[in-house]
Point group: C2
Chain length 106, copies 2
Amino acid sequence: MSIRADMIRGHTETIILAHLMKGNSYGYEINKSIKEKTNDKYELNDATLYCAFRRLEEMGYISSFWGEGNSGARRRYYSITNEGIEFYKKNIEEWNLTKELIDKLI
Amino acid sequence: MSIRADMIRGHTETIILAHLMKGNSYGYEINKSIKEKTNDKYELNDATLYCAFRRLEEMGYISSFWGEGNSGARRRYYSITNEGIEFYKKNIEEWNLTKELIDKLI
DNA sequence: CAATATACCTTATCTGTCAAGGTATATTAG
DNA sequence: CTAATATACCTTGACAGATAAGGTATATTG
């Protein structure tokens, strides 16, 4: 069984930030990690991922820089900011509250 | 603390069906119940609610009829169908899987 | 008689996601 | 050597669910 995108909507940013909490990373790697962690049950669409990066960077929650490695395709790395860490923590709290509420309602 | 609409998106239909699993009801009552159950932390927008009713009825998961009471404003009652019950059960499973996945990812 | 609560509805707009398209480099298989 | 695959990023237009803002109508309460 797989899940619909609407289940994840609203969590995309938090998922990305969670990954960046463990160190800098780049789009392709983050998405592969999501796929692995969920045993192929979920994966972000390319466009969704890069769109979320733009939003997060605009809001000042992440910053980006081009990777310096000379092998393979170029990579744009992302790093979480202090504001991003605060935002992440707030989102975790919101998720815990959401779980409670939905469990009460359905 | 309150939660964002995107947290609930994708669960609106299930929340409505959950209420109807306990008996026929109407829009205004369902929304009041949501507000009470969540201690004013969540409430559906009118338009969201009625929009979801249309979808659910189109898909054959609920059926509707005008209430017969002669006091107060007219009410459109909704009743869950057998297909709706199946759909509800499937959604509960999906929610349990979603919780697992998101907890793994964030 | 005005204000409030009940009860439903429509329309235009917003936002995150997705499908479908694209570019470019490195590695692997035949 | 060359074709296929994996890596890696990006843009555009469209879609669907949610929202704000508007509306109608009745019953109750002060």
